[in-house]
């Protein structure tokens, strides 16, 4: 070996015995190297090719040298790639390395290879020929195929997961819709509007509301908030909705309806896993002659209803529904005149975080202020204004929010008579 000899002939002298020992030579190495060698003219005509590469492609030198072009060894994809990428880059840079191509075998087989080329220049810098090495890349290609398979499997799994998620969301949306009225019925001489939003699209909400006809010209309505979220809360909501609807038909007195609900909830959910709700239940009795409407409500632990004249309709002392076998509920009555509206809401609104750092709560006073500035507005426009407010609160909304407004128009809407 010759690690640090200053003699320029050192390599020649000392390696000769080793070469002899191995019965190797430069010519022998060229022909039978573990890679293919190829020299082409600048137009691509093959001028020289080694035995290794001839063996791979399964042809004799006579059939190749001077007769074939480098691109003739390539598959169609390789030809195209050679023409659009390989050759232009080689011309631009004088060399190119590690390009993945496939060469064709005489028997029709294909060998994946890695190709590197260098342009040899003459004394005046003019390009003379292209020297190319070709490495067998079968193992590497097999590995790449494996990676590719894994990647496709991952993509497939991802797509499946996305589809499952979308299906689940659809199912949740259908369930959520079943807990709320699709549309509000029209109440003669009055306007009604509602809004509902969940804090998170993939979680079932625990707020609820409804408005429906009971007997004669009377209507019942309720709005509330179940403790907790998700499927368990939705199950409770469903029970509440159908219990209150049935109770209202049986006895429209608001306190009686809440007592029935309380009994049902307390009997169904007891012990260490209590389920309860806050709710306001009410009845609505429009007077066709005066244009006014009598509202009777009862509250079980729910934030007070708002009357846009503008004040709260206090219902203190009503207890959460479902906590005790017998519970006190607080009733209140008011009359809505032209321009008045009753607004029910859940604490998603009053507990929304406001301010720069989202540490203050929207609160009861802000709501009262809102009410006084919107006194006299129609029920739909009040709901629109509150919806805009919720949009502004944006990520300050932690909780679901339900809103229901029932109002007597300031000027009565044109009445439609049936023929």
């Amino acid at each position: 070996m010759c690690r640090n000899g200053p003699d320029p002939d050192c390599g020649k002298k000392s390696s000769a015995p080793f070469a002899a020992l191995l019965e190797d030579s430069v010519e022998e190495l060229y022909e039978n190297a573990p890679c293919g060698y190829l020299s082409t003219l600048m137009d691509g005509t093959i001028a020289k090719i080694n035995a290794t590469l001839l063996d791979w492609i399964g042809l004799e030198a006579d059939a190749v040298v001077g007769r074939m072009h480098f691109t003739d060894l390539l598959t169609v994809g390789g030809k195209l790639y050679h023409e659009t990428h390989f050759a232009p880059l080689l011309q631009m840079r004088g060399e190119i390395s590690g390009i993945a191509l496939e060469i064709k075998q005489a028997g029709g087989g294909r060998i994946p290879v890695l190709v590197s080329s260098v342009v040899k220049h003459g004394g005046n810098g003019e390009p003379l020929l292209i020297r190319t090495t070709v490495f067998d890349a079968r193992d590497r290609r097999a590995y790449e195929q494996e990676l590719l398979r894994a990647r496709r499997a991952a993509e497939q799994a991802h797509k499946q997961a996305e589809a499952d998620r979308a299906r689940l969301q659809d199912a949740l949306a259908v369930l959520q819709q079943s807990l709320l009225p699709a549309t509000l019925p029209s109440v003669p001489g009055m306007e009604a509007a509602a809004h509902y939003r969940t804090a998170s699209p993939d979680r079932l909400g625990g707020d609820f509301y409804d408005l429906f006809a009971i007997a004669g010209d009377r209507f019942a309505f309720f709005l509330g908030d179940v403790c907790g979220k998700g499927p368990q809360a939705a199950a409770v909501t469903s029970l509440i909705r159908y219990t209150l609807r049935a109770a209202a038909l049986h006895d429209p007195d608001p306190v009686a309806a809440l007592k029935t609900l309380n009994h049902v909830l307390h009997e169904r959910y007891t012990g260490d896993d209590p389920r309860y709700c806050t709710t306001i239940f009410g009845t609505l009795e429009p007077h066709p002659t005066t244009g006014e409407a009598t509202v009777r409500i009862a509250s079980g632990g729910h934030p007070p209803a708002l009357v846009l004249r503008a004040d709260y309709l206090p219902t203190p002392g009503g207890l959460l529904v479902g906590v005790l076998p017998t519970a006190p509920f607080t009733a209140a009555t008011t009359t809505l005149g032209p321009g008045d509206a009753l607004v029910l809401y859940t604490d998603g609104l009053t507990e929304a975080r406001t301010g720069e750092d989202r540490t203050s709560l929207y609160g009861d006073e802000a709501l009262l202020e809102f009410a006084s500035s919107h006194a006299g507005k129609s029920a739909p426009s009040v709901i629109r204004a509150l919806t805009d407010l919720l949009d502004d609160l944006g990520d300050g909304l932690d909780d679901d929010t339900a809103l229901l407004a029932l109002g007597v128009p300031a000027s009565p809407p044109p009445t439609r008579r049936n023929a």
Partner: protein, 267 residues
């Protein structure tokens, strides 16, 4: 929609000159024209762009159905012309783009007043007496190799790009974007390119047309150049003493000379 952003439109050259639109072929992008632009810049307003799915185009604008036919790519061309309000422009298309130019000139004759077709081919697959240069099996294999190897076309370029650090004259931008093509979108473009048959569209060409072919081109053999020449009445055919499918890169001087000569005679 911002067409100029969608198609990564670049406008250079002489703002008062006649517009010349340079359109790249399959598997490439507008950088393929970098040796052509300097020859045109002094006298012409040069417009470069990338088809959606290629180069630095807006990949989100890609639609498999739109680009499943050459008409979709022709719409790209017409929309670029409209966005720049080009009139009577010269459209220079390489390879499949030459045929896209034929379609665009047909739908927007007021926009495109002349065609330069560089190594065009209206049909790559042999068909009875027609010789396109590829058998149906060849094209199947090509499409299959693109299907099964989408590490391939893009990944194969990676070593080249990384090996470029010691060649600063090539420029960062060039190395980053040279023929960058999204593999999925390249598959759609390949299918459209190699399965289309636009031979009948050639007869409809009425604008002055220059056809450039190479003496030796494995993608578009000389029979194809002769066919295109025969089909387009009044067209000029110039055979460049060049090897390969990209004479604008392998023989830029001869290619540019033929183009500028043609443009000068258009006036």
């Amino acid at each position: 929609m911002d067409i100029e952003r969608r198609n990564n439109v670049t406008v250079t050259g002489n703002p008062r000159g006649r517009a010349v639109v340079l359109a790249h072929g399959f598997g490439c992008d507008q950088n393929m024209w970098r040796l052509t632009v300097p020859a045109l810049a002094e006298d012409y307003r040069v417009v470069l762009f990338d088809y959606v799915g290629a180069g630095r185009s807006d990949l989100s604008a890609f639609s498999e159905s739109r680009y499943a036919s050459l008409d979709g790519y022709a719409r790209d061309v017409v929309e670029v012309c409209e966005a720049l309000d080009l009139r009577d422009a010269v459209f220079v298309g390489h390879s499949v783009s030459a045929m896209i130019g034929v379609l665009a000139a047909g739908t927007a004759p007021e926009r495109i007043g002349a065609l330069v077709m560089v190594a065009p081919s209206p049909r790559y697959i042999d068909d009875a007496s027609y010789r396109g240069g590829f058998s149906a099996e060849d094209i199947d294999e090509l499409l299959e190799s693109l299907e099964s190897n989408y590490l391939g076309w893009s990944a194969a370029m990676a070593p080249v790009i990384m090996g470029n650090a010691d060649r600063p004259e090539l420029g960062e931008e060039l190395t980053n974007s040279f023929c960058a093509t999204d593999p999925d979108m390249a598959r759609v473009f390949a299918r459209t390119t190699f399965l289309s048959d636009s031979r009948d569209d050639l007869k409809a060409v009425t604008v002055p047309t220059l056809i450039l072919e190479c003496t030796q081109d494995v993608i578009a053999p000389r029979e194809v150049g002769a066919f295109v020449h025969q089909m387009i009445a009044g067209s000029e055919l110039v055979t460049l003493d060049a090897t390969g499918h990209c004479p604008h890169l392998s023989a830029p001087e001869a290619t540019n000379g033929a183009i500028t000569d043609f443009l000068a005679r258009l006036r």
